[in-house]
Amino acid sequence: MTTAPRRYPVLIALVLAALFMVVPFLIVAVNAVKSPAEYSANGPLGLPEGLYLDGIKDFWERVDFGRKLVNSTLISGSVAVLAVVLSVLNAYAIGIGRIRGRTWVLAFFVLANVLPQEALVYPVYYLSKQVGLYDTRLSVIIVFTVIQAAFGTYLLSSVLGQFPREVIEAARIDGANKWQVLWRIVVPVSRPTLGVLLVFFFIWTWNEFLLPLVMLISNDNQTVSVALGVLQGQRLMDATMTNAAALLGVLPALVFFLVFQRTLTRGIAVGAVK
């Protein structure tokens, strides 16, 4: 057994390491509520003397942040729901229907999953221009529904492959058709897994950068990630504005994290082991 005096140094080291991980968030929060005068007088490390919220308000109005939040929510929400539906349909055919050649179909989805977006981005950009979908939120929704469903299909197929077949057989004997079996039995029973997927798709889509950057050029359609990334890339922000931007970018992620923490940590484990 380890003795008490030796235990605490390890705990302290771990706490310090954990602190190092969250310190950037704290510095950002502290500096976002400093006035520019205070910032230039005391630098980034001093504690704020009061609560100065004008920087955040200015930034919010200047980039029309509310609009960006709506866009991100709309895109991520639609993608999450549609991608789960698409994954369920695919996985139903592969995992429960056991269609012929399913190994190859599954291999295809795995491939689609690891494919770098760089190998798709230009044709997607070009084709969306051809069909009049360029610079619309719909284009991003369609593309990410498919990209996320690649992972969803891969994960759900192995989950549904272990679905108790007696249950399905029983329902079939009672006269349920395949459609009814899917919606009345398979979907309700798999709800926990679907919930994990929903959360993951939402957050992944929220955080996506390359494709939304290429596809959404007008201010009115941009997501939070793209708007902040582009602003940062232009190097036009002063310190207060940068911190306001960072804080407003961090907050939604923090909210998701606190709300979904259990789902997230459990889900990663499921996804990795499957």
């Binding site: 235990r7 705990l11 771990l14 706490v15 954990a18 602190l19 991980m21 950037p24 950002v28 630098g43 980034p44 490390l45 698409l86 349909l89 695919n90 139903y92 055919a93 229907g97 056991r98 269609i99 989805f109 795995v110 689609a112 690891v114 494919l115 770098p116 760089e118 190998a119 798709l120 981005v121 230009y122 044709p123 070009y126 084709l127 593309v143 498919v146 990209i147 299909t153 899917l182 957050i203 929220w206 955080n207 950068f209 950057l213 939070v224 990630s225 793209v226 902040l228 990334g229 940062q232 310190a239 940068t242 970018g249 961090v250 992620a253 998701f256 940590t265 990663i268 990795a272 082991v273």
Partner: protein, 321 residues
């Protein structure tokens, strides 16, 4: 008796209709198949096709054969971007896997056992937090912290009397790549940690107890029990992280835009600028095709190791029962 008969007839029916039944399940795959055709297959084939042309985004592409790939071979910018990819693999796969493994073991069987699982959960949450942050936001946070002049890191160094260590962290070509790597370690660390902690829950606690009774210290238990037991997770983590490292784009875009002077350019950023800034679409397509081939090779090797590790584990488990 009746049950057997029923089952038998049931079996016959099933056999007779099984062909039809299997076929009608394919209908459920139809929406997915069409969507994947439009969004993945067609664009991917187009991209590969374009890589053999000198297309510039307008007009009819003209066949150029392997010209783009030959140019790549002599393009120092291209080689530099792939060399930087190796650094990204160190920052996003090697370091987070090793550090994540040690941290996970420490949190799981040290903090969890001596201080309670609440402590372990809170600490794990801290390490995982950067993972849910959009990379663009992480980039803003860090480029401000690493700013020259009065960036937080430089101010901190001055405050503790190490003023001579101050650097232009992202602006100095000799340092920028390492700064980006540091940020990526911070971003990535939570993923292996969480996967490993979940994996450790599978390990039979009796193994540790037996080893502890035999007088094995923490390090020996870690080497001889933890490491072999969570080998499948290690392969999964290494594969996923390596793929993620090869795909790095957002961090480079936001932190350095590949600069200064190409010091932090990576293949995905290189292909992005070739596509959209230089509009050499054919050449950009060739770069992204090479990247795709490398990523597919990595995934294939990773998957092989993973299934082999899982098979080995199944055999061990089978032998045990």
């Amino acid at each position: 008796m009746t049950v057997t008969v029923e089952r038998a007839t049931n079996g016959v029916c099933e056999q007779g209709s099984s062909r039809r039944r299997k076929d009608s399940y394919t209908l459920f795959l139809l929406p997915g198949a069409l969507a994947f055709l439009a969004v993945i297959v067609v664009p991917f084939l187009m991209n590969t096709g374009v890589s053999f042309t000198d297309w510039r985004g307008v007009g009819t592409p003209e066949w150029a054969g392997l010209a783009n790939y030959r140019t790549l071979m002599d393009d120092s910018e291209f080689w530099a971007s792939f060399r930087h990819s190796l650094f990204m693999v160190v920052a996003m796969a090697a370091v987070p896997t090793v550090v994540g493994l040690v941290l996970a073991a420490a949190l799981f069987d040290f903090v969890g056992k001596h201080f309670g699982s609440r402590w372990a959960a809170v600490l794990r949450a801290c390490f995982y937090l950067p993972q849910v942050l959009p990379i663009a936001v992480a980039g803003i946070v860090w480029s401000w912290i690493l700013a020259p002049g009065n960036g937080s890191l430089n101010e901190l160094l001055k405050a503790v009397g190490l003023g001579s260590w101050q650097q232009d962290w992202l602006g100095d070509p000799d340092i920028a790549l390492y700064s980006v790597m540091g940020v990526l370690v911070w971003v990535q660390l939570g993923f292996p940690l969480v996967v490993f902690m979940a994996g450790l829950q599978r390990v039979d606690p009796q193994l540790y107890e037996a080893a502890e009774l035999d007088g094995a210290g923490w390090w020996r238990r870690f080497r001889h029990i933890t490491l072999p037991q969570i080998r499948p997770e290690t392969y999964v983590v290494l594969t996923w992280c390596t793929i993620a490292a090869l795909k790095v784009f957002g961090a480079v875009y936001v932190l350095t835009k590949g600069g200064p002077g190409g010091a932090t350019d990576v293949p995905s950023y290189f292909s992005f600028t070739t596509f959209f800034e230089k509009t050499q679409v054919g050449y950009g397509a060739a770069v992204s095709t090479v990247l795709t081939v490398i990523i597919l090779a990595v995934s294939f090797v990773g998957l092989r190791f993973q299934t082999r590790a899982e098979d080995a584990e199944d055999t061990v488990e089978g032998a045990r029962t």
